[in-house]
Amino acid sequence: MPPMQVNRLEKGGRVDRADAVNFTFNGRPLQGYVGDTLASALLANGVKVVARSFKYSRPRGVVGHGSEEPNAIVQVASGAATIPNLRATQVQIYEGLEAFSVGGWPSVDFDLMSVVGWFSRLMPPGFYYKTFMWPARLWLTYEHFIRKAAGLGQAPQLRDPDSYDKLNHHCDVLIVGAGPAGLSAALEAASAGARVIIADEQHEMGGSLLSGKASIGALSGQQWLQDSCEQLAAYGNVTVLPRSTVFGYYDHNFLAILERRNDHLVPQLRTGSRQRLHRVRARQVILATGAIERPLVFANNDVPGVMLASSVCTYLNRYGVAPGKKLLLFTANDNAYQCALDWHAAGRTVVAVVDSRAAPDGPKVNACRRAGIEVIAGHGVIDVKGKKAVNAAIVAPLNAEGTALTGSSRPLDCDLIACSGGWSPVVHLSSHNGVKPRWDSDAIGFLPGVSSQAECSVGAAAGSYTLLACLAEGAAAGASAAGKTGNGNGESGFVAPNTQEKTEHAPQALFLVPHSQRTSRAPKQFVDFQLDVTAASIELAAREGYESVEHVKRYTAMGFGTDQGKLGNINGIAILARALGQDIPSTGTTMFRPCYTPTTFGALAGRDVADLFDPERYTAMHRWHLEHGAQWENVGQWKRPWYFPQSGESLHQAVNRECLAVRSSVGLLDASTLGKIDIQGRDAAEFITRMYTNSYLKLAPGKCRYGLMLKEDGMIFDDGVTACISENHYLMHTTTGGAAGVLAWLELWHQTEWPHLEVYFTSVTDHWSTATISGPNARKVLAKVCDDIDLEGDQFKFLDWRECTVAGVKARVFRISFTGELSYEVNVPAHSGRHIWEALMAAGEEFAITPYGTETMHVLRAEKGFIIVGQDTDGSMTPQDMNMDWIVGKNKTFSFIGKRSLARSDSIREGRKQLVGLRTLDPLQVLPEGSQIVNDPAEAIPMAMQGHVTSSYYSANLKHSIALAVVKGGLGRMGDRVYCPLADGAVIEAEIVDSVFYDPTGERQNV
């Protein structure tokens, strides 16, 4: 049986007392009602200590009621679905909710870590910069314990079971915040016909109207709210987003909204995505983000039971919870007197109102006096008695400026201190684009600066705190924004309701309440609750020369918490300004950055994780490979068969078998992934000739040519075979990984430098499936399925291509070779890929045709000394470095891309790294790829490295290992011994040899 809700009022509020909700806090069963937040439910149950502070482990209670809450940080749920660091003030309770404090060990009520508090005098800001330095080697040990004490909640340990999605919007007017100003703006903009989105971080629209007792004209505020929401819902052009935080305002009026769709529901009722990221491009933005009440800074102001006055009102009026019995209100303005009036009206005791101003005399002040509430003017609460709960406030007279005590103090018994230092407009979003907010001494707050975006701020966010002003400004802005998007004439039809707004008297700017001792000696006066930053810390930072507000932030950690200083920063800035003897505007604020409130990683990632992280590209033969046990290599986005192990074979056994099969009979490779670019136009040959190092001007239809493509810096970028299909029509092959980059490269040069050349590029990689038959029996295999052309060597030569029919399919067959064997690359329309593959497998059966993967392809080409761009080159190799000067056209009239760079002093110097072969002295020993090469294995470290091994394999055909390497001056060092020192201390000795290991004259491919 859960305990009684000791602080729940009998009536009032927006909770449903007929609908009880059971939940646990730190394992303790408790009950609240539908409509409660975790914070309101905890307060209803009389729970005072909800957390321990970050640095000093002090007991902490709920201070606020929304996203500004610094203390009540909890972990919700357990297992894979656990969520760390939620604010209890923003968690709606549901049946079965489990919540845990994130600090305190073994518990928040009995916390052994609080011994840290005893040493707090040894922990001024930056204490860790000044110590833990000796002995140096122990820092990791010190750090271990520092880390253990840090952090808030626990990261989940398991994969997130939920999904997240995204929605892109365009709208005429995006309104941020659905308080009176935002709603008023939405009504106007919507009635003008604009497409409107209105988002609010709370689960109900209404903002301050939800927790106040104001009336609008003849209506109660709550009734006006209900009517307005119904009106908005009736418009087809309005999207209303509750539980949706606009967390970032980016360039060109792009805003990001996080909608929390599921967390408030009983787990069994959750469907669809947990959260949704709305990506909104708005033509106009209205920021009606409101203001946050500023706490007052006095000694021990962090004892549970010290709260914001507006939060006390909210708990009373919205949730029907009185978080105490005896209230003391401490204020520097008229506005907060409402809290005392509401508390009094709820039938509870108001001990006194302590007002720092000498002669408060506004209407609300006098209403309090009329109600018999004692108003103690010209005083302040300078200290608090109590550890885990407030027992008494220590009250003392202040001078007129509120900077010094003028008499002795006295205790006033109470269990709740509501305080109000005024209001801080929420200028975060308007500042996200680097706009600096400006200080307004009348509003006693920073107001939005002038933005270059199409936006405006209204209501409390712009420093207008009265309800009438909020409604009027909202309406005007709504109409104007709609008008700017072509909806309506921009004029508001707003008629001020007949509401008597009582004039408030001037508030006092009170940022630090003095104590009988100076700040450095007074009990802790907290500015930033979450990170335990005190007034004394800020003064100390200033004393030590950390004078910029950014330095103070970084030195003390002020504003670094998960609340990003929503409560503390203005007080902190003012305290710093005073310490430096300067004013607040010249002190300035730290930079405002997204997120307004913390945003789930998963929601930012959306669907693009796991299977959808990056597309997988499959060839048309993919399923065949899968069925035949292929192991995969990722090449770019492609899945390519790496090798096809037969039962029990290792990688090397399979590759040896595949290699032998190709050279002794015939093999089949899926080469569909090679990039293919169709190039057409009158100037196609000229263009291709500019891009490659060799010339294509005389390449005849039916012929192919291998080319090397350089970047303008002379370094090898791609390679491949280009075929002349017909006059002014070519097909360029690129590397698998380089296809997109090469196409972009061609387009860049054509469009930006030579638009006068008539040439067109089309990516046709996906149009074709390619099966490469390679090996001495390749022709026999092809002949079985292709009878409409003459395949004989003198008719269909190496580097020819033919159009023909293969297994009944129109095909382009290229006689080119990457293995050095007789090879045909059979290209058919993509959808015939599997058909042609199976036909070739069947035709090859009598020759034991062997499917092979990329690894065998790599071995076979390395035997031939053919390079792979990106493996044997690394962006720093020229054609000459690759021993490929033969392909560099010396007499081309046009200076092809990269040519000039080949003549730079560094490109022609002696001693550049050059491609060579390596043979290990032990023929069975395979050099690890990536081994570094030295001349003298006994040399002391750092050793003079000569190059490295780029490709290395065991060659089953040659019965010894082979390697390609780049070695300084390698081409002039044939026969030299070099050494590869390995990580395990072994050294492999090798001899520099020619990079062509097999069939150097190319007889086999020319048969």
Binding site: E753, P755, R900
Partner: protein
């Protein structure tokens, strides 16, 4: 996140559709072989990189695939104009590393 107008498609589209192409209006030397190493290096690597108004190329990669020019303020990220390749900007840029 930028919103860029493609002068060919005549539409404002999201930055995700485009790829950045670097400083605009750099011409390849007509006769590279006649360049000194210094001149060639300047063409290859040295850029104006102004703090302020900048002419730059963008490619509508997920759209019409065409390159065009944009005049953009590199501090405020405001885009002042988009214009096709081969045309001259209406808004003048800052000099090298210059502020304006």
């Amino acid at each position: 996140m930028l919103q860029i107008k493609c002068p060919y498609c005549q539409e404002l589209r999201e930055e995700d559709e485009f790829s950045y192409g670097g400083e605009a209006h750099i011409e390849r030397p007509a006769n590279p072989e006649a360049c000194s190493d210094e001149e060639w290096g300047a063409y290859l690597f040295f850029r104006k990189n102004p703090r302020g108004v900048h002419h730059e190329m963008w490619n509508h990669a997920a759209g019409c695939r065409r390159y065009f020019n944009v005049t953009r303020n590199t501090v405020t990220y405001e885009i002042l104009e988009s214009y096709p390749m081969g045309e001259k900007p209406a808004v003048l840029a800052a000099g090298p590393g210059e502020r304006n």
